[in-house]
């Protein structure tokens, strides 16, 4: 692109000015505040427009003239365009005319913006401004800033990376990383970690839903158990109903049986009552007395036999007179002593005899004891004499001081005294024993005397000499008495028989035997009648057993009711009914248990079912939590994709750009630095520019260079950037707004030829307030334009 003419109706401090440019180097000279930078801005604004209200107001004409410019340029392919802009009308105020006068603004519009610069240079505003323009002395020393201007690395980055931000791709990457950290979190972050929080929330929601599901399933199991319990209960109820039906059938059978038994009872009763009527004649016969009659009759028969026998004996040997006298005598003695008195008497006689024997024995023993005691008196006397003799001798010998004899005699005297003492004690003991025996003998004699006195008293009263005599008399008395009482007994027995016979068979005449026989017959009939009565009584008991306290009519009513209910009597008997009732009781128990189980499970169900959480809401919460996790994971993927893409493309672009920039700049670097520096290096990551220092051979940051040298290097980089961006495209013009303010004359002298030779093929507009520079540029062939219009220095 070659700029041909710029006409400014009004732009900043410029009003109604026209500048005509040549190919190659154009130097626009003017003092400070003459409007050089304004021209550069007007060119950029003509090509790209002004974005943003602030920028637009910044360049509004100071004089109130029309806010408009006209820029004419040509392209490498020969096309020429005239861009007319009325900045107050924005896009509507833009016209782009081609060489034929056609307004082609629509063809160069990008979106709503009309930017012929971008269309024809195929370079966005950022790239153009950062690559082709050095505005406001903005060639920068890397790592430092001057007047707030952008660094060359920043400019490079903005040109290479794009975007309005000065940190460009690296800044974008940082913002992406920051956003990823904010919206997703990092693996290590514990505070701000949305993904972890979302996953924890999801896990918690899943646990809640799983717990609710388990609760519901448990309730389902409980319901199944309850259904089983209900089934069991119903089965038991059914069995009970069957057992009850069986019981009713058995009850019907039982009723039928009992009523039949009642009928049989009635038949049997009638038969017995008829039989009993045959014995009504003995109904009142006191049969219980027949035994008494029998006994009396037997006794009479025995007495009669005995009397008969006695009569016979009496006849053969009737009692003599002596015997009658003796009987009278015996009646007065032996007959007065009954058996008990006689036994006592005999015992008393025996006791007296025993006492006498004891007394005799004790007396004998006492005499013996006394004899033994007197038997040792001589020995004791001898010993006493001996003891006395030896005692005297002892005293004598002692007086004579015959001590040996004294001791011997003393010892013998002691022995003799000991014997005397021993015999004395023995005699006393025997005397005590003899006294005891004597007391026993005395007591026995006393007892014997008392018993003998008692016996004698009785015997004397009876006139009997001894107890044996009395015994013999008693036996005789008994014999005589028996012989005298036999007939009387027979008479008494006969009377008794007659009395009983009169009572039992008073209507019968005849002998005692005949009457007794008839009485016995009556008694037999009475017993037979009693047997019938017993049978009747048994029947009554059977009736009670049949009715069991119930009324027969009640039984009949119950039977009829069962029959009406269609109950068919069972064939089993009452035993079956009992078993069935037992089964019913067992079934009732089981049924109660089953009912309790059902009630318990029902209670569990009702309590549990009322507390089941809303599973749908919980699952929805799970789904929402999962969606949140998925959303954040998707965000993470998107961030990763964005970051990866930008990082990779940035690296590739910077890498390629750095190597090519080094290549482009290397040749010219030697020229403008008078051969001092020949190697230039660009860091692909930071786009920082470094050079090899010949003195040390090291690659150093530009900080080690002088300010002027750094500017030279960066100017070179600018040129190279412009050339690179324009490869294969339209080469943009270079706008250098007073870039050499800090350069010395020698440096400018070395750079100007490079610029003037148009080393990179670009039209160059060099704005300067330095007259020397303007003159030097003019000297190397530059087209000089005086911005202030004077053309000469003040």
């Amino acid at each position: 692109m070659r700029l041909r003419r710029l006409t400014v109706a009004g732009f900043g401090r410029l009003t109604d000015r026209t500048f005509v440019f040549d190919d190659g180097l154009n130097v626009l000279y003017g003092p400070n505040e003459a409007g050089k930078s304004t021209i550069a801005r007007a060119i950029v604004a003509s090509l790209y427009g002004i974005a943003g209200r602030g920028q637009k107001e910044q360049w509004r004409p100071w004089t109130g003239a029309a806010y408009a410019t006209t820029l004419v340029y040509e392209l490498e392919d020969g096309r020429a365009f005239e861009v007319q802009r009325d900045f107050d009308r924005d896009a509507k105020g833009v016209h782009v005319y081609d060489r034929d006068g056609n307004d082609v603004a629509a063809q160069v519009a990008i979106g709503k913006a009309v930017a012929p610069g971008e269309t024809h240079l195929q370079m966005p505003l950022d790239a153009f401004v950062n690559g082709s323009c050095v505005l406001q002395q903005a060639i920068e020393i890397d790592g430092t800033t001057r007047n707030g201007a952008a660094t060359i690395a920043t400019s490079l980055a903005r040109a290479l990376d794009g975007g309005p931000k000065e940190d460009a791709a690296l800044g974008a990457l940082k913002r992406l990383e920051d956003a990823r950290r904010d919206h997703v979190g990092t693996a290590r972050a514990t505070v701000n970690n949305p993904l972890r929080v979302a996953r924890e929330t999801l896990a918690a929601r899943e646990r809640e839903a799983e717990a609710a599901r388990a609760q519901r399933d448990a309730l389902a199991q409980t319901r199944e158990r309850r259904a089983t319990a209900i089934e069991e209960r119903n089965r038991l109820a059914e069995r009970r109903r069957a057992a009850e039906a069986e019981t009713r059938a058995l009850r019907a059978a039982e009723l039928r049986s009992r009523l039949e038994d009642l009928r049989t009872y009635r038949d049997d009763l009638g038969a017995l009552q008829a039989e009993r009527a045959r014995y009504d004649d003995v109904a009142a016969f006191p049969a219980e007395r027949i035994g008494e009659l029998d006994a009396a009759f037997s006794a009479w028969q025995i007495a009669d036999a005995a009397a008969t026998e006695a009569a016979a004996a009496a006849a053969a040997a009737s009692m003599s007179v002596a015997e009658r006298g003796e009987l009278a005598a015996r009646r007065t003695d032996a007959g007065t002593v009954d058996d008990a008195a006689f036994a006592a008497l005999r015992l008393a006689a025996e006791a007296a005899e025993a006492a006498r024997t004891t007394a005799t024995a004790a007396a004998n023993e006492a005499a013996a004891a006394r004899r033994e005691g007197s038997g040792g008196r001589s020995l004791a006397g001898i010993a006493l004499v001996v003891a006395a003799v030896f005692g005297v001798l002892t005293i004598g010998f002692a007086i004579a001081h015959w001590w040996s004899f004294t001791e011997v005699c003393g010892a013998l005297a002691a022995i003799a005294f000991a014997i005397v003492a021993w015999r004395g004690r023995e005699r006393a003991e025997r005397a005590r024993i003899a006294a005891g025996k004597q007391r026993i003998a005395d007591a026995s004699l006393t007892a014997e005397r008392d018993a003998s006195l008692a016996v004698v008293a009785v015997l004397e009263r009876l006139g009997v000499s001894s107890v044996d005599e009395l015994a013999r008399r008693r036996e005789r008395f008994a014999e005589l008495l028996e012989r005298s009482s036999t007939r009387a007994a027979e008479t008494a027995a006969a009377a008794a028989v007659d009395a009983l016979a009169a009572a039992l068979a008073g209507d019968v005449t005849g002998s005692r035997t005949e009457r007794t026989t008839i009485a016995r017959e009556r008694a037999q009939r009475k017993r037979e009648r009693d047997g019938i009565e017993s049978g009747i009584a048994m029947l009554e008991m059977r009736r009670h057993e049949i009715l069991r306290g119930q009324d027969e009519f009640a039984l009949i009513a119950e039977r009829d009711e069962l029959a009406r209910a269609g109950v068919v009597p069972a064939s089993a008997g009452s035993r079956g009914a009992e078993e069935a009732l037992g089964r019913i009781r067992e079934l009732d128990r089981l049924h109660r248990d089953a009912e309790m189980a059902v009630a318990q499970l029902t209670g569990e169900l009702e309590g549990g079912e009322a507390a089941v959480p809303d599973l749908a809401a919980l699952e929805e919460a799970v789904a929402q939590a999962r969606a949140e996790v998925d959303r954040i994971v998707a965000l993470d993927r998107a961030f990763a994709l964005a970051i990866g893409t930008v990082a990779r493309l940035t690296h590739e672009a910077h890498q390629a750009f750095a190597r090519r920039l080094e290549s482009y700049a290397a040749d010219a670097l030697g020229t403008i630095t008078a051969g001092r520096y020949r190697e230039i290096f660009v860091d692909p990551a930071t786009l920082a520019v470094r050079v090899r220092v010949p003195e040390t051979g090291a690659i150093e940051d530009l900080e080690v260079l002088s300010a002027g040298t750094r500017d030279q290097v960066y100017l070179l980089v600018r040129f190279a950037m412009t050339r690179m961006f324009a490869e294969g495209l339209e080469l943009p013009p270079l706008l250098l707004d007073d870039p050499f303010a800090y350069w010395d004359a020698g440096r400018i002298e070395r750079c100007l030829p490079l610029i003037a030779q148009n080393a990179f093929g670009a039209q160059t507009l060099l704005f300067t307030s330095s007259y020397d520079l303007a003159a030097a540029a003019e000297a190397v062939g530059a087209n000089r334009l005086d911005v202030a219009g004077t053309g000469v220095p003040a």
Partner: protein, 361 residues
Amino acid sequence: MPTTIVHTADLHLETVFPDVRGGSKRRAALADAFERIVDLALARRADALTVGGDLYEAERAGPATARRIFAAFARFGKPVFVAPGNHDPFAARSLYARDDLPPNVRVFADADWNAVPLGEGLTLYGFGHTPAEPGRPFAHATFDRPGIRLALVHGSDEDRCPPGKRATAPFTAAEVRAAGATFALTGHYHGGSIVRDAAGPVIGYPGSPEPIKFGERGDHGVLVLRVHAAGITVEAVPIARTRLIDCDVALDGASDEGAVITRLTDALADYGAGDYVRAALHGAVEPGTRVDRALLAERCGTGLGALDIVDRTVAADYDALAHEPNVRGRAIAELLAATDPDAPRALAFVASAFDGREIVA
């Protein structure tokens, strides 16, 4: 005396709505619709109520669901016939197997046809789903009882299967006729429809009483079937009180969040509390314009059943940026051309990051 049958299906009680807000309200709306169906059956003096499956969703149904359903059936009082569907198949633990099922409810528990005479010359054949795949219910069916033969089944009319809908127990109208059925009372498709052939109505889907998912076409109500001597008549009666609405909102040129809210509010002006709206925002907004979905849903969804926002706006002229001979241009061009599903979002992130704007996730 004609016989009146009210037919419903696909209530999907206890279903979840993870794709839209207001799930609880929508479940309540479904339960309320069920009550209205019983009200309608009582008002129309229906002789029977038939349910063509998917009355509830077994995965989440519980005791409360059973109480609600059984109470409604008991309130109806007259015979209820249920043909379980693929979401509520008959199984040992299904609600239909509970011992407190009202006595007026008959559940077709077998994956085979069972006949129930409903009156002289009218027979209802029922086919139930079990957890096993049911196959083609009409393939070998023969309905030979005299008079009108109604078939109650949950299945898919293959000739009219909505896009993306899974077919279950498939059949065709021809199969229905060939089996001898006069009319098939069915369920499965949430959009109601009545299929007719030369002989008259042959298949009836009542549709879900309330819409379940976005994009369902057709009616949402019940079918009222009148069987008389001359044949049958079928009437579709709407029941739904809610709507699921997809709404496109163009935000071209919107330069700030206020403008976005204004346009969205304008777009939603005609909708009310029964409407569950999914608003898709699209168009090119000015760079830096904040489009916060959660904030918009909160600000603009207050008068609606629920509001979900789908953000498809672009905050930059990506095509223009893609032509830039720099990293941003190349990155945007590459992401524009990428088939990765995350690329559009990554594209927006890249544009915002280079512009230095807040990256709204």
